[in-house]
């Protein structure tokens, strides 16, 4: 067997470093696109979840325009299909493993829809990269939706009541009162999700995305070393994630310091 890690093995990796740098670029691109897709999806999902869309409201109305006493009819009248769909989506995505979701998207969805095969930036294979960001984006959209929903719901009910009592509509209340306060609360959580995605994106090497992990695999089969390329990957992931989370923590501190000053 011999030693697990040999210093001279690192010199074997030398010629393959280009794969690692390209893998790093892919990982960063993958994460940025994933966050963008996830963020937009989350806004749509959160809006659906918190919407007051009641298409069956007429069922619960009596002829003179009042609410009926019948509890079943009231329940139907209250049913919000948009909120139901969004909730179902979020719960399914959160209750299944990412790898299953990625395989379903890659082999299932994009097995039926064929993507154009081309390479961009010289080393990113579109037909593998695209399913990767779709799958990760769909997954992270579910989590980001929950972050946004809890951010909006964490704002004291009294704020809504005060705004509505002044005659502002529910939309105006959301726009002027709730969202400005909620966004400040959830920014750190959204930034944290970005760090999570950088790490989670490693799983896309299973569908052939040439990220950092796929570089590890290539080096492994070319040089018959495993620990050394893994350590290189560890170092790269750490250098991506650690500064990012430190930056987030710094911004978070800055923001809460502002709060304390106001409290004087």
């Amino acid at each position: 067997m011999g030693d697990l890690i040999k210093l001279e093995n690192f010199s074997k990796i030398g010629p393959f470093m280009k794969l690692f740098w390209q893998g790093t670029a892919v990982t960063v691109l993958l994460s940025l696109f994933t966050v963008a897709i996830g963020f937009i999806l989350a806004i749509v999902l959160a809006t659906m979840r918190l919407s007051e869309f009641r298409p069956f409201a007429f069922v619960g109305m009596t002829k003179d325009g009042k609410l009926t006493d019948n509890p079943t009819l009231r329940a139907i009248a209250k049913f919000n299909p948009l909120s139901f769909l969004a909730t179902a989506y979020v719960e399914i995505l959160r209750s299944t493993p990412v790898i299953v979701q990625i395989f379903i998207i890659y082999y299932g969805v994009f097995g039926v829809i064929s993507l154009p095969k081309f390479t961009f930036l010289g080393f990113v294979k579109f037909e593998r990269f695209f399913p990767g960001i779709v799958a990760l984006g769909m997954n992270s959209g579910a989590y980001l939706c929950e972050i946004m929903r809890s951010g909006i719901q964490s704002i004291d009910r009294g704020q809504t009541e005060a705004a509505r009592s002044l005659g502002l509509s529910s939309f105006q209340t959301l726009r002027f009162i709730i969202l400005p306060q909620a966004i400040k609360n959830i920014l750190p959580a959204i930034a944290n999700e970005f760090v999570v995605i950088i790490k989670e994106s490693a799983i896309t090497y299973t569908i052939g995305v040439q990220d950092i992990m796929s570089a590890v695999n290539s080096v492994k089969s070319a040089t018959f070393t495993i620990m050394e390329p893994l350590l290189v990957a560890t170092a790269i992931y750490f250098c991506l994630c650690f500064p990012t989370s430190k930056l987030i923590a710094y911004i978070e501190r800055r923001m809460s310091r502002g709060d304390r000053r106001h409290n004087d």
């Binding site: 005060a162 705004a163 502002l168």
Partner: protein, 258 residues
């Protein structure tokens, strides 16, 4: 009961929670006339806050109707001038009913001035310049003009509540609803808020006030309503209620609070 001057008329108002297991309001009838200062008193859990919050539909009543300016606002749809059924716009009615909360509920991310001008400007009731001018006048009236650019968390509780009152006044409401406006205040700040309310009452504003301040009820109220168990048990002038209470429940309540 309703006369030409009736502003709010409530009939058979009920509010149940948990499918009727809890009856917060169990049939309330009252008519409030223009210019009246109705003070609602009662033990906690008597339904007085729920009653007040039903008046502008912060709580949706289970049963009964609330006529405000001749419109039953508990209806989802009403007949318009042409006799067609249209959706009732509760926001329009709320603009005419100011509300002041126990916990102030100022918007923490806005200056005092912005807190006051947001609604009238967004609802196209006045231009920004007009709103600013009106806000500064109102701030003058409550002695807080120099705090116009402050943020809510730079203010004391008493200041916050005075701002909350003038914020509601910005919409030029026909009636002001007060939900225990002094209950969250330090004792030394209660007076400054009550003074503003007193001045408001003397200016002829119609007011419905839920409070534990018996002194205020006696001095400023034109009518005192005693609630218990989700019903109005007794009502009358302050002299009648405090001087000659007739029901046992009111007598024992007054013994505890006076």
């Amino acid at each position: 009961m309703a006369t030409a001057d009736t502003m709010i008329e409530v009939n058979g108002l009920k509010k149940h929670y948990n499918r009727g297991a809890i009856k917060a309001l169990d049939g309330v009838d009252i008519a409030i006339t223009k210019g009246e200062v109705v003070v609602v008193i009662g033990p906690s859990g008597s339904g007085k806050s729920t009653f007040l919050r039903c008046l502008n539909l912060m709580e949706e009543p289970t049963e009964g109707d609330i006529n405000f300016d001749g419109v039953d606002i508990t209806k989802k749809k009403i007949k318009n001038a042409e006799g067609k059924m249209v959706k009732l716009d509760i926001d329009k009615h709320r603009q005419k009913m100011g509300m002041v909360f126990q916990h102030f509920n100022l918007f923490p991310h806005m200056t005092v001035l912005k807190n006051m001008t947001l609604a009238p400007v967004e609802l196209k009731k006045m231009t920004e310049a007009e709103a600013n001018e009106k806000a500064l006048k109102l701030l003058d009236r409550v002695g807080l003009r120099d705090r116009a650019e402050a943020y809510p968390n730079q203010l004391s509780g008493g200041q916050k509540q005075r701002i909350a009152i003038v914020r509601a006044l910005m919409m030029e409401p026909e009636v002001m609803l007060f939900d225990e406006p002094t209950s969250a205040l330090d004792p030394e700040m209660v007076g400054e808020v009550l003074d503003v309310m007193k001045e408001l009452a003397h200016s002829g504003m119609t007011m419905v006030v839920v409070t534990h301040e018996m002194g205020f009820a006696r001095e400023v109220g034109t009518r005192v309503v005693f609630m218990d168990g989700g019903r109005i048990v007794e009502q009358g002038t302050p002299e009648e209620i405090f001087g000659y209470p007739s029901s046992e429940r009111l007598k024992s309540f007054l013994l505890k609070v006076l």
